[in-house]
């Protein structure tokens, strides 16, 4: 029996006004995979994520998540996926407890249940002492932790992460990487977008590189390495057409000293 792919994109095209952002993305992700989705700024990473979580219904091509059409079943999809956005967007005049209680209510979870779960999760992230403090005073890493919890509180089957490690301290980074690994082992699918190459290199089962709205590489790190035996960073630079960074750096120094 073949298992239907968890995420499937066929010929995905999206443009804002005249400017094309995605130029025919085709991809299919199976359950239990950790997919690293990388590309230079403006390549279309965030746009892909937003389409997948049903925030941008206005696109051409086909996109299904958990076998459901993103355009027609956005609400059903949203119930079963988690999303952690990139720029620490949360209502920071609330406390973590209040915020997570609110998010839980949006998923129609039972308030008592949310409270227990939230307290435990905050404790695991070492935020117990701050559970009832307003988040205006929180550091970027603390906010990121709350954000991570808010994206996974409802135990989603697919998790979309946009730069999930930003601002976290080294210990928390190890912890979150391990969480991602173990989630995948229990059959969850992780779709992960980041600029930090060595993290992507280490935790991804599969790496997809996009540039200018198109997929230019797709495979395990070993497979990608097979073509060009270098680090992911170098590979990335080469493929996205900016492998002359050494020269640019030299020129930069030159301009400074002039």
């Amino acid at each position: 029996m073949t298992i239907a792919p968890i995420i499937e994109l066929r010929n995905l095209v999206k443009s804002y006004g005249e400017a094309p952002v995605l130029n025919g993305i085709n991809l299919s992700v199976d359950a239990g995979q950790v997919v690293g989705y990388i590309g230079p700024n403006g390549a279309g990473k965030s746009t892909t994520l937003k389409i997948l979580i049903g925030m941008l219904p206005d696109f051409a091509g086909e996109a299904t998540v958990l076998g459901m059409d993103v355009r027609t079943a956005a609400l059903d999809i949203k119930r079963r996926i988690g999303y952690v956005p990139e720029n620490a967007a949360l209502y920071d005049s609330l406390t973590p407890m209040e915020y997570l209680q609110f998010v839980g209510q949006l998923y129609e979870l039972d308030p008592g249940h949310i409270e227990r779960k939230t307290l435990d999760l905050l404790r695991l992230f070492q935020l117990s002492d701050n559970a009832h403090a307003r988040m205006t005073t929180f550091s970027k890493g603390m906010r990121q932790k709350v954000l991570l919890i808010s994206g996974m509180l409802h135990n989603p089957d697919v998790i979309f992460l946009d730069e999930p490690l930003s601002g976290l301290d080294a210990n928390a980074v190890v912890l979150v990487k391990e969480i991602i690994r173990q989630l995948a082992n229990t059959g969850k699918t992780i779709f992960y977008s980041s600029h930090i190459m060595d993290v992507v290199e280490k935790i991804s089962d599969r790496i997809i590189i996009i540039n200018k709205g198109q997929i230019i590489a797709d495979g395990t790190f070993a497979e990608l390495q097979h073509q060009r035996p270098e680090s992911l960073e170098q590979l990335f630079a080469q493929m996205t057409g900016s492998d002359s960074q050494t020269d640019v750096a030299g020129e930069f120094i030159n301009t400074l000293t002039n």
Partner: protein, 553 residues
């Protein structure tokens, strides 16, 4: 307040459900929004947030504003007390216009950022919340405030009508006030949706900004104007119905109340009643049915559209206007940089514009009304001077706002850069205010006064202008000296009483001196020379501000 509001919502949940909302989700969103309003000095609540001293008294400012509205409502409602039952149509129109104008004003100036809030995009849109639920939650959130406003403004009328005629009359006014608020919600949303179809998000915010400024000025002008209209308009006469009366919303409401008062239900009145009830309810229903989808869709596009625009940036000219002006008015390169910097931000920061431009507008409106009132003082005398200096006060608001910005965090720059004399930054930005705002404002004032009173007062106007500069500098010297755009917007309005007191004393002192000089031949011209020297000395003093005199946030 919040628990009360939520329990009212709970009673109405059938209504929300029938409009297509997922009630528990909607309730959660409204609850969180109200909670945040109470906590934060919510900048979007504009006027309501401003004078708040601390977070302990969250609802107080809003209550004060309500009290203020209610007070004006009662004054406006007094006519309902004395006029004949048959002649109440016109005063009722005024009442409902007042309610509607206040609601529309509040919606546009204070709540547009809630309606167009794109921070929800990241937080709520990825959750399984339907766009209708989100939309209804927003509308409900806003309506809570609007209903409070409409009830406060209508309070006087409700009581008077209820007491003088019948409880039913009062009740009908109450219901119609709430319906007026609903109608305004519908109309403003329609306006926003229409604008969003036509123009980009950035332009929209720009337009809203100017609408807000105009509204604020119109509002102030209205306060001055309406009492005058009231005394002039022949209130005692019954109005002939015209066909266009059926297009003006306050007329519907007034007609409906009149119908209850006179207990007549002819075609005319039934038509008014029908419009008064059906339009607001139908409007809301229509929107929640057909327009919410495109609304949230547009909203979720908001973040993106503003992204890829660098290509359209114009070719940078070697010397731009602010740079050139900076060259004329400043002496050191640091001052020049600060001048051009402040000039640009003042022209672009919407919040700065929103706080400053209306005040300048008030000043102009004030001058115009003082002058129109005329007659009580002779034109060449005290009155003109008084209005001149009073307008000068308005011109000084910009200086209050200069230190505030939403991106105040960028002020680390002042700490990191090797600035020896921060006073030059202060003086540069103050000069930018003088050239960009105070001077054009004064030119308008001067143009109006000259047009009105002829040219014999030119010397007074010139002296008034220079004196305003003196006051501006005095106020700058005596208040906390903060680097431009370096503190959060909320914190500017605190601890200013001392400074405003000093400013007032100096104002009356200088104004009095000026008046004395008008009695001496050539006195005013001498005054001009003296105050020019004062300006120069004070500015030099200000320029020499050193680091330990600067208050950093």
């Amino acid at each position: 307040m919040t628990p009360l509001i939520l329990s009212i919502l709970d009673r109405l949940q059938g209504l929300f459900r029938s409009l297509g909302a997922d009630y528990p989700q909607m309730r959660a969103i409204v609850q969180v929004k109200l909670m945040m309003d109470n906590r934060r000095n919510y900048t979007t609540l504009g006027r309501y947030g401003q004078q708040k001293k601390n977070n302990d008294a969250p609802d107080n400012t809003f209550l004060k504003v309500l009290g203020f509205y209610a007070f004006f409502g009662v004054i406006l409602a007094l006519q309902l007390m004395f006029l004949e039952r048959e002649n109440l149509f016109l005063p009722l129109i005024f009442q409902f216009s007042y309610v509607m104008i206040l609601c529309a004003m509040t919606l546009i100036s204070d709540f547009s950022s809630i309606i167009l809030d794109s921070s929800d995009n990241q937080i709520i849109l990825p959750r399984p919340v339907s766009s209708r639920t989100l939309w209804l939650a927003r509308i409900t959130h806003i309506s809570v405030y609007l209903f409070a406003i409409s009830l406060a403004t209508g309070l006087g009328s409700i009581l008077i009508l209820g007491y003088r005629f019948s409880p039913v009359a009062g009740l009908s006014f109450l219901v119609l006030s709430v319906l007026s608020a609903m109608l305004m919600v519908f109309l403003t949303n329609l306006l926003y949706l229409g604008l969003m179809q036509l123009i980009s998000e950035e332009k929209l915010r720009e337009i809203i900004n100017y609408v807000q400024i105009l509204m604020a000025i119109a509002f102030y002008g209205g306060y001055q104007l309406i009492p005058r209209l009231m005394t002039q308009a022949s209130l005692g006469e019954t109005m002939e119905r015209q066909w266009w009366h059926y297009l003006v919303p306050p007329m519907w409401m007034a007609g409906a109340v009149e119908s209850v008062l006179l207990w007549t239900f002819d075609t005319e009145h039934l038509l008014f009643i029908a419009l008064a009830i059906l339009m607001p309810i139908g409007g809301i229903w229509f929107m929640s049915r057909f327009m919410t989808g495109s609304f949230t869709e547009k909203l979720s596009g908001l973040d993106q559209e503003s992204k890829p625009t660098p290509a359209t940036a114009a070719v940078v000219q070697p010397t731009t206007l602010p740079d050139q002006l900076a060259g004329w008015f400043t002496s050191s390169s640091l001052e020049r940089a600060s001048f051009a910097f402040a000039w640009r931000i003042m022209g672009r920061d919407r919040k700065f514009k929103l706080k400053t431009y209306p005040q300048l507008g008030f000043g102009l409106v004030y001058i115009v009304f003082m002058s129109l009132r005329g007659g009580t003082f002779d034109n060449s005398g005290f009155a003109t001077l008084f209005s001149l200096y009073f307008a000068g006060l308005y011109g000084m608001v910009a200086q209050y706002q200069l230190s505030a910005s939403d991106s105040f965090k960028a002020s680390w720059l002042y700490g990191a850069a090797p600035i020896r004399q921060p006073g030059e930054i202060l003086s540069g930005s103050l000069k930018a205010i003088i050239v960009k705002l105070v001077t054009p404002f004064y030119l308008l004032v001067a143009a109006f006064l000259i047009w009105r009173n002829g040219t014999d007062q030119v010397s007074d106007i010139v002296l008034g202008y220079i004196s305003t500069l003196v006051m501006l500098l005095v106020s700058a010297l005596f208040s906390d000296r903060r680097m431009p755009f370096s503190v959060p917007v909320d914190s500017v309005n605190r601890s200013n009483t001392g400074r405003s007191f000093i400013t007032l004393i100096v104002l009356s002192l200088i104004g009095g001196l000026h008046y004395g000089l008008t009695l001496v031949p050539y006195g005013v011209w001498g005054g001009i020379v003296l105050s020019l020297i004062t300006v120069w000395l004070l500015m030099r003093q200000y320029q020499r501000t050193s680091w330990h005199q600067i208050v950093m946030a």
